[in-house]
């Protein structure tokens, strides 16, 4: 180690000397490394951005929520035949809330296609009746100045409505919507909030941005024959999700007499699965992009190795002198490896700085549209920095190692006479 430190100053001067008569070659190689670093950093950052928006998109439906809808038995159970429909009845949400502590939040969802009118403009859409918990679970957040439905809305069967942001724009244009009124099924409703824009990749019955929500109690009083279309619940924690699901089958199975193992009797869409797949797709894309960037960098590394071979040849005589003075194999090799690393690190720094600048510029660009929403913004992260540094270090060391090994294998007696 002492040797390496003492050699550092000499290596730097060696590099400057080489730079003197190999200027073009070294500059081009450093640029090649910079280019490789640029591609690896940018590709990984785009991958990271994409991964994050995929994650956001998956959470657009709600984080770790499960959707339950009526099904039919597929097994005979306690003397009852298979193929028997299993409903979700009005009293079931309260039963589940009281019997299953693993369920954190729960909401019913009624739904009906109906027309919504503002003045003479009328839009046909899926109206849903939900509980206040629905908004939080499904990541439906109100824009500033508005709110989602609350407990009093439900208790007092208020005629209030919360609009998806696209529906609000279609009905009212760009105007401020909260406090305005509209008509649903010949009744007047007050708009209490409009949803914030979000990326939503998972959905059932259409995206949230086109749907109006009213209190479940209001919905039930308007459409007395309405049946619960589905339940949405979120477990207390991720660890309890499986238990909550099993308990739900057990409680409902006891009530409606079906086998708790018969998972077709009630349909449950557990969105954890989708989120896991999404995460894996994101990671897969990032690895793929990383490999492409790595290969680009590898080509730059070949350039460094090439130069180092030339430098070794040029310094054959010097290597001989050092050997005559008693330099061991390692001591002959170290300066070459350090010089290769120096070139690589230099290129890496240039490449990283340029890519950070580009990422900042892209972030500042006013890019709009669904494609950009999903592609997200390239995001630099400490993990990317670590990966890039590791790859650069490895390539630099290898690009130095082989020429250096070659240098240390020369015959001192021969190399001293080398001209």
């Amino acid at each position: 180690m002492r040797f390496a430190v003492a050699e550092l100053a000499l290596v730097w001067r060696l590099f400057r000397a080489d730079l003197g008569h190999q200027t073009k070659r070294i500059v081009l190689t450093v640029l090649a490394i910079a280019w490789g670093t640029l591609s690896i950093v940018l590709l990984l950052s785009f991958g990271e951005g994409l991964k994050r928006s995929l994650g956001q998109g998956a959470r657009g439906l709600g984080e770790h929520v499960a959707i339950v809808w009526p099904g039919a038995t597929t097994r005979a159970w306690m003397g009852l035949p298979s193929g028997r429909p299993i409903p979700i009845k009005e009293e079931d949400p309260a039963l589940l809330r009281s019997r299953i502590p693993e369920i954190g939040l729960l909401s019913v969802e009624y739904a009906k296609y109906t027309s919504i009118a503002v003045g003479t403009k009328s839009i046909n859409t899926r109206l849903r009746g939900v509980d206040p918990e629905f908004g939080e679970m499904r990541n439906i957040h109100p824009q500033l100045g508005g709110r989602f439905l609350n407990a009093r809305d439900v208790a007092e069967k208020r005629r209030v409505v919360f609009l998806g942001e696209e529906l609000a724009r279609d009905l009212f244009g760009a105007e401020d919507v909260v406090g305005r009124t509209l008509q649903i099924n010949q009744s007047v409703f007050l708009v209490v909030g409009v949803a914030e824009k979000k990326i939503q990749m998972g959905m059932y019955n259409g995206p949230d941005r086109n749907q109006p929500s009213i209190p479940s109690s209001t919905f039930k009083s308007m459409f007395t024959d309405a049946k619960i279309e589905n339940l949405v619940y979120r477990p207390v924690s991720l660890d309890l999700a499986d238990m909550a699901k099993a308990e739900l089958y057990r409680v409902m199975g006891a009530k409606y007499h079906f086998d708790p193992e018969d998972t077709r009797s009630l349909g449950i869409w557990d969105t954890r699965e989708m989120q896991r797949i999404n995460d894996n797709i994101g990671l897969g894309i990032q690895i793929f992009l990383g490999i492409i960037g790595g290969l680009t960098l590898f080509v730059g590394g070949m350039g460094v190795a090439n130069i180092m071979y030339a430098v070794v040849k040029e310094r054959t005589r010097e290597i001989g002198v050092k050997m005559a003075l008693g330099a061991k194999e390692r001591q002959v090799m170290t300066p070459f490896i350090l010089e290769a690393l120096l070139m690589t690190v230099l290129g890496g720094l240039v490449g990283t700085c340029v890519s950070l600048g580009l990422i900042a510029i892209i972030a500042a660009l006013p890019l709009k549209g669904e494609a950009f929403d999903l592609l997200g913004r390239p995001t630099f992260s400490p993990a990317i920095a670590a990966a890039t540094a590791t790859i650069l270090g490895t390539i630099g060391s290898l690009a130095g190692f082989f020429p250096a090994k070659h240098a240390s294998s020369v015959n001192p007696a021969v190399s001293l006479r080398y001209e």
Partner: protein, 227 residues
Amino acid sequence: MMIEMQGIRKVYSTGRVEVEALKSVDLDIDRNEFVAIVGPSGSGKSTLMNLLGCLDTPTSGLYRLSGETVGGLDRNRLAEIRNRHVGFVFQNFNLLPYATALENVELPLLFGGVPTKERRERAKAMLAKVDLADRMDHKPTELSGGQMQRVAVARALVNRPTMILADEPTGNLDTSSGKGIVGLFQELHAGGQTVVMITHDMALARIASRIVQIRDGEIVDDQRAAA
């Protein structure tokens, strides 16, 4: 005996052709001798120098340096022996062009693992000994030929080697600088240093206390000057 060579033979094979550079050399050199090895080009004197300096190993024969048998040793071990026992002085100086005089002199100590402070001090003292105390921070290109060769001598001496091995040390110098270097060798010899000098110049060889003549890979004459 400091240097013992018995039946040293060196054969170079280039493809199918074998060249016998040294046939069978027996040579003993004692401590504090000043030996000149003289011969025309192609006589095998460079091969002999490479073997003496442990830059190369003989095809057959026995070589003992300070009691240690050189032969069958690996490259790193040979490097250590060169570092400890041999101080090379070359015809074309062979200084590192990008390093200062002081750094050049420090190199053998660097390779020998001497700590920084001691290394610097010993190198400075050695440069002062060859009258270059005021040129320590100069690069070789900023020095004259004679000064460069004196830096090289300082570098050869700095690790207190068993012998100085000089290959045509005055070959690239003008007459007066050459005389300076020769005078330096005589001084060193007088101070107890073993010096082996390889040259084709009989006039130069006469300053040594012993002249070994080599021709066609064999020692043909070995004379000690009358003391």
